[in-house]
């Protein structure tokens, strides 16, 4: 019997019914109760000459960026065929005048691939994915607003049918960061439609969904903006701030707004990158913010691992699993279904009145712990792809958690 079938039967026994639709479950009827499983590792595509950074995946194609300097500088976008168990490198593209390609995103229709360049010659580079094995550069958007210390992250989002790039730009440490919004309706000619100073000391990342924009503003916490879906008259060119909260410890790094299968949209997860030695050490928690009242979000829970730190996320929302790249902590799978703000006293950190997800038994899977330094994770079906800064791209089998 497969693990997933066993889990399903256990779940059926626990809840007394076997609906075919996913159900919202609480900790008491947790099919993942017990020790976290070791998520099977299927294979790894090696990258040895450069430091690997972010990963994006679409079907059987994955793309990784490179960062900083090893034997070569991080100016390469790598294209992987991930149809088999071991990712196969099929192509790469070099971005001129770049030393770090930080973020990589695929548009919701799969047509475009967008890469951020930072440190020197900050920009976004737009590729056409008509041939996913060999993306073709369409344009490079580099302006005074992006150039200084560059585009740290880029997220794509569609508002009223129009595709935008939301850029978190690092201004070099003398002031604030800034949000730059680029209209990608004509990807060969990106149009910069907003430059908004934001974040203290920098703006690190954003999350776009359903006409809302979430901004991770480092020590200034997070903000929620109406950009067309919040009914407050906001738009990508004129966002209207709805509310925000300073997450504990600051260093608000990245955000995911969780849409649960039952329709609940109560929680956002905020990564805290709290410093470390890249490749070896890290620190920082995942913060759970209840945004039931978007004007007054409040932090209700957190997830922490001693001597390891959170980085980027992805989610299997259908099954309520958050996958977090956790640097030297590898990959962590966290069950985020149900009420995350209710827990027993032994599961609660009294000083901050927050529930601790690990103590609640919500850590359900672990991979690559101890022998990697995982920057990002991306999911496609039953597979999770993890970019290891030290060695390349891993393919993991997450079917036991689905």
């Amino acid at each position: 019997m497969s693990r997933s079938a066993g889990l399903l039967i256990a779940a059926c026994m626990a809840i007394g019914a076997c609906d075919t639709d996913p159900v919202v479950m609480g900790p008491d009827d947790d099919p993942f109760d017990g020790d976290p499983i070791a998520i099977p590792v299927l294979g790894r595509g090696l990258v040895q000459e450069r430091v690997t950074a972010e990963v994006a995946v679409d079907g059987t194609w994955a793309y990784t960026t490179t960062w900083g300097q090893l034997q070569a500088v991080g100016n390469a976008l790598k294209v992987w065929d991930v149809s088999g168990p071991i990712p196969q490198l099929v192509d790469s593209a070099i971005v001129d005048g770049a030393i770090t390609l930080g973020d990589v995103q695929i548009s919701d229709d799969g047509a475009l691939l967008v890469v951020a360049t930072e440190i020197d010659n900050g920009s976004i580079v737009v590729f056409d994915r008509s041939d996913p094995a060999h993306p073709v550069m369409l344009s490079r958007h580099m302006t005074d607003a992006t150039r200084s210390r560059g585009v740290h992250t880029v997220k794509l989002g569609r508002v009223d049918g129009r595709l935008y790039g939301f850029l978190a730009v690092n201004t070099g440490g003398t002031g604030r960061g800034q949000l730059v919004v680029v209209d990608l309706s004509d990807p060969a000619n990106p149009d910069e439609v907003l430059v908004l100073p934001l974040g203290g000391p920098n703006l690190h990342d954003v999350f776009v969904r359903d006409g809302y924009l979430f901004t991770a503003e480092w020590d200034d916490g997070i903000s929620i903006w109406d950009i067309g879906g919040g009914g407050r008259g906001g738009s990508p060119t004129d966002p209207v701030r709805i509310g925000g909260v300073e997450t504990l410890g600051g260093n608000a790094h990245n955000i995911w707004w969780y849409h649960a299968p039952g329709g609940e949209q109560r929680y956002v997860f905020v990564g805290e990158e709290a410093g470390g030695a890249i490749g070896a050490q890290s620190s920082g928690d995942i913060h759970v913010v209840d945004i039931s009242d978007m004007a007054n979000p409040r932090e209700v829970a957190f997830y922490t691992i001693p001597a390891a730190g959170a980085h980027n996320f992805t989610m299997d929302e259908e099954n309520g699993i958050l996958y977090a790249a956790y640097y030297n902590g590898g990959v962590r799978a966290i069950d985020v279904r149900g009420d995350l703000g209710s827990c027993s006293d032994s599961e609660r950190e009294a000083a901050t009145d927050r529930c601790e997800l690990r103590l609640m038994g919500r850590e359900v899977g672990v991979a690559l712990e101890g022998d990697s330094y995982v920057w990002g994770v991306a999911r496609s079906g039953d597979f999770l792809y993890a970019s290891d800064m030290n060695s390349g791209l891993y393919k993991l089998d997450i079917s036991p958690l689905r």
Binding site: G97, I99, G249, N251, E273, A274, G275, G276
Partner: protein, 418 residues
């Protein structure tokens, strides 16, 4: 002084130094001595070092040779009111002569790495007043200069190449207010200053951040020629001008010995320092240093040697591999390295007209090791873990020179104390 006047004066001084001519002439006021034997009046000086450096490997196994005019400075010292008033200034012109920095293996800070950064044009401009009350001497120093922390600026020590520990062992080019008290052989200094470090040679610092950082230094002079100090400093967000970066908590202790040995001039320094970097009260990184150096001179010859063992952060580099992102990206570093450096130097000074010329040769053997497990690999980056630096040059100057740099008022030897 306006930019144009500053430019013209500095260029004139530079040209004078480079051409080996005395530019000051009658502008150097004759020093006079007050009744306590202290120098009164105005003293001016101009100094610089013509330098050629060969370093190997520098990057990827490759060597590099470069030549500079380094440490071009104009100095001024005014002493008045029987030694109770003192003003001191140093104009540093490295912003023009070391635009891309000076090859200096292991040296880091202010956005440079493995090259020493140029200092700010306004390196130092301070005024000090002193009084005596109830058997205690007191002085107040205000202006732009050194915080009361650590040891003297390497610029006034025997070597042309800076130690790796410069940013661990000194705090300089800040707006300072320093109170010093002395009773017998004990000197205590307390200072407030702005935490932000310079961002360019033109940088004048954030005056509105004055007082966000502080330093304390206690010095004991137990025997003639012996100076022992311990100091502590809190520096708020030195790398982020806006004050939102990591804070530094610093310690330093040192013993300095300059005995009178008849025909010989001797100098020795033993130094320890440590800097811990904090984010919101949580310690992220710690870097430390040990350093021993000494010099022995007779007649016009002087020989010096230095041993140093220091750690430094490895930060994300720009396309120019000698420049780094500052402040830390996401509070991260790429690792840490330990630098062990042996340096030897020989020099002989001559006087040509009114010009002091000191040709020298200096060699350093450097060993670098990765210590934090990060992605930075010295062997991959430099091509070897053992590096050499060889320098030939001549220090040229006219007029007075600051014997010490980093202490003011009662804490400065030959200062306003009795």
């Amino acid at each position: 002084m306006g930019d144009l006047a500053l430019f013209v004066a500095a260029r004139a001084a530079l040209a004078a130094i480079a051409l080996g001519t005395t530019f000051a002439g009658g502008a150097v006021a004759q020093p006079v001595h007050d009744r306590n034997g202290k120098t009164s009046g105005l003293r001016l000086g101009a100094h610089g070092t013509l330098l050629g450096t060969y370093a190997t490997p520098v990057l990827g196994g490759e060597a590099a040779s470069e030549a500079y005019l380094t440490r071009p400075v104009l100095t001024a010292l005014f002493v008045g009111a029987n030694g109770r008033l003192r003003a001191s200034g140093t104009l540093n012109l490295e912003g023009w002569t070391l635009v891309d920095g000076e090859l200096n293996a292991g040296m880091w800070g202010e956005g440079f790495v493995d090259r020493r950064h140029p200092h700010t044009f306004l390196h130092e401009l301070v005024a000090t007043g002193a009084i005596s009350l109830a058997g205690i001497d007191a002085s107040l120093t205000v202006g732009r200069g050194f915080a009361p922390f650590g040891t003297d600026d390497p610029m006034v020590r025997p070597f042309v190449k800076y130690p790796v520990n410069h940013h661990l062992a000194q705090i300089l080019e800040r707006w300072v207010g320093i109170v010093a008290l002395r009773r017998g052989p004990v000197i205590v200094e307390a200072g407030a200053f702005n935490g932000d470090e310079p961002t360019s040679p033109e940088s004048l610092g954030e005056v509105d951040r004055f007082g966000d950082s502080w330093a304390l230094r206690a010095t004991v002079l137990p025997l003639a020629g012996v100076e022992v100090q311990a100091s502590r400093a809190y520096v708020e967000s030195p790398e982020h001008v806006g004050g939102r970066g990591l804070d530094h908590r610093k310690w330093s202790a040192s013993a300095r010995y300059e005995p009178g040995l008849g025909d010989f001039a001797a100098y020795a320094l033993l130094e320890w320092a440590r800097t811990d970097e904090y984010a919101d009260g949580r310690r992220l990184y710690a870097f430390g240093t040990w350093l021993v150096e000494g010099a022995l001179g007779r007649d016009r010859w002087r020989f010096a040697a230095r041993w140093e063992r220091s750690t430094r952060p490895e930060e994300e580099r720009l396309l120019d591999p000698f420049r780094t992102v500052r402040p830390h990206h996401d509070d991260n570093i790429n690792g840490a390295t330990r630098w062990v450096t042996w340096t030897a130097r020989a020099e002989r000074s001559v006087t040509v007209g009114g010009l002091s010329v000191t040709p020298f040769a200096e060699a350093s053997r450097i060993t670098v090791a990765e210590i934090a497990g990060g992605i930075f690999s010295p062997t991959d980056f430099y091509g070897d873990e053992k590096l050499w630096s060889l320098s030939l040059g001549a220090r040229i100057g006219v007029g007075s020179v600051h014997d010490r740099m980093g202490r003011y008022g009662l804490a400065a030897p030959g200062g306003t104390h009795h």
